[in-house]
Symmetry: C2
Subunit: 399 residues, 2 copies
Amino acid sequence: MAGTRLEEFYKEISADLVRTVQFWLKYSHDDEYGGFFNCLGPSGHVYDDTKYVWLQARQVWMYARLYNEEEQFRKPDIIKAAVRGVEFLQKNAKDPKTCKLCLSLTRQGQPIKIQRSIFSECFYTMALSELYRTTHEQKYKDEAIEMFDKIIYWVREDPTDLRLGLSPLPGVTPVNSMAVPMMLLCVLDQMETMDSSMSENYADVADWSLKQVLNHKQREGSIILENVSPSGEELPGSFGRLTVPGHAIEAGWFLLQFAKKRNDKELKKTAIEDFIVKMFDHGWDTKYGGLFYFLDVDGYSPVQLEWNMKLWWTHNESMISFLMAYQETKDLKMLEKFEQLFDYCYSKHVDKENGEWTGYLNRDGSICMDFKGGPWKGCLHVPRALLMCKQILGEILGK
Amino acid sequence: MAGTRLEEFYKEISADLVRTVQFWLKYSHDDEYGGFFNCLGPSGHVYDDTKYVWLQARQVWMYARLYNEEEQFRKPDIIKAAVRGVEFLQKNAKDPKTCKLCLSLTRQGQPIKIQRSIFSECFYTMALSELYRTTHEQKYKDEAIEMFDKIIYWVREDPTDLRLGLSPLPGVTPVNSMAVPMMLLCVLDQMETMDSSMSENYADVADWSLKQVLNHKQREGSIILENVSPSGEELPGSFGRLTVPGHAIEAGWFLLQFAKKRNDKELKKTAIEDFIVKMFDHGWDTKYGGLFYFLDVDGYSPVQLEWNMKLWWTHNESMISFLMAYQETKDLKMLEKFEQLFDYCYSKHVDKENGEWTGYLNRDGSICMDFKGGPWKGCLHVPRALLMCKQILGEILGK
């Protein structure tokens, strides 16, 4: 059945990509102060003008990527907005001494919050790198390399800058949180688009990150746990038992992409079977459909209040994963899972009238929050998934 | 109808109080390392042994209060556990130099997290003060006064210690968050139980806190906003439009109690009409029953993912508020609201088999998280509400 719907998938996703990009182009640009409005209601109304750095940087990256990879988006407006976005961050979000970026800014650009993590910096690095691909301006490449080197230094050598003056307390358990090595793999993949020397220069980072991600495979390969010890042991308590199915499935396509580059059969198998298929089966809600946000591997109630909600991005990333797995294996079961996700999303998350997806659903699939953009939802997961799925479907269909 | 059910309310609540206290006595004591287990499953199983300082201190306070005010709980076991609890915090959670307490500890007592706020310290002060009422040991009174003076200094004179080395960023909007002056009113009420000189000594703090709470009454008295400017103006964006109905209703009984002490008619009226009744009408979910956790006063989606959940504590605090308002006014409408809350809670939150309440429900009233204790739910709101409601009902019924 799924096999006969490839044209339908391609058509729906292509139309959705246009609607979604239009949404951001139309409503999110702040022509007065630069950067983007992030908090946009169901039909684009700005309900808060705080600017979130993850989302600013991701939108720059997305615009540059769309410009680079889709003829229809190769337009001066898009690249101008991306450049204005990165300039807003350079001017306002980045501490030139430490290279730390803040987490949120006022509309005018004054820093509000800063986080003890590498994520603002990673999204910013990706934005610079993709802008280099578009503009070929050396300054973007140089800054991307400078930032990436700094991030690697923080993660692998000395996290002092990240701590913002607060030493870790004696009860803190050292942790390998999957988000960190995953993020490094993702930035690395981006850096490699700039220059073929990159994969050589960062081969060691790639090996380390890969190993750190694979350490999350626990309990004889039956589950991907979100947090493990630095040496790859399971951690105690709710924190140690936490799974984030959509995040593990996302890691799956990062790994699969990596394995394809290296032509690593064993890694392809691990990515598809352990990260994608098993974690989909673990995370899918058989009662109402959709992926749970958080679960506890031993079946306790997770302690996160939003655990049973259905979030757009976990479904976006899963669509990419299963389509990539299908393209790789030609196994129809992969396409059937994609179909299951497609039908869920196009009946629950998609807004055909206004573009972009409604991000946050209650467990039963009803809308919990109606906005299109919020403090943690911007112009990334939906358009990236639509672009990538369109590309893969296009390849499969020989377009 | 509600008027004829007073005996039933009294009986149900009395039985529930016993069940609930038994739950904590039976499952939460850590006889090996001191303090209390906080993370307890539906029937008492410890699913995580992290110790949360708010909850440790609140349990000490609750045990001491139960010992002081209910003959059936005046037992050596209860007071011994309270003393062991406070000793665990003195030894492990408190920095003797700055008087800052941390937020969470390992089971053995090593600090894990620390927060830039006054709440660990306030709950600890309340615990010390109530223990003084029980034991008459001067050391508890002295430390409670020392802590309270420190807290007032942080809030009103110099917050440097609270900032833990991080200066506020230039984009941060100064804010009067209702939790702070509410908390001070609550601690003050506690301090006054130790000694009649307290209300004189802290009269200035009382006036200031009262004014700061009342500044949250906005839009011509139609709404209580959670965050306002220090000078009492509405703030922009989602943060400024946020309401937490159950929190405003809780502030209502704090104010009403304060007004009763001062015999302040105007304040009684404000407490009941603006904080309790209006915010109940604003926050009640007419479709499924129960109080929404967060709302946006202009009807936008709140940005908190848990906004539409039904939480035990908002209902506990509202039960106290309406019963206290009924006792004060003899207005049957107040008792009817209490009845509405009682019927909601005793069909959704209460666990008659195991004791304690199931805290976190989905919007439709189904159980979202089945545990009885978690990182933010301990031995306070349920037993305090049951104790206070039992006391008020007892007074009304002339028991």
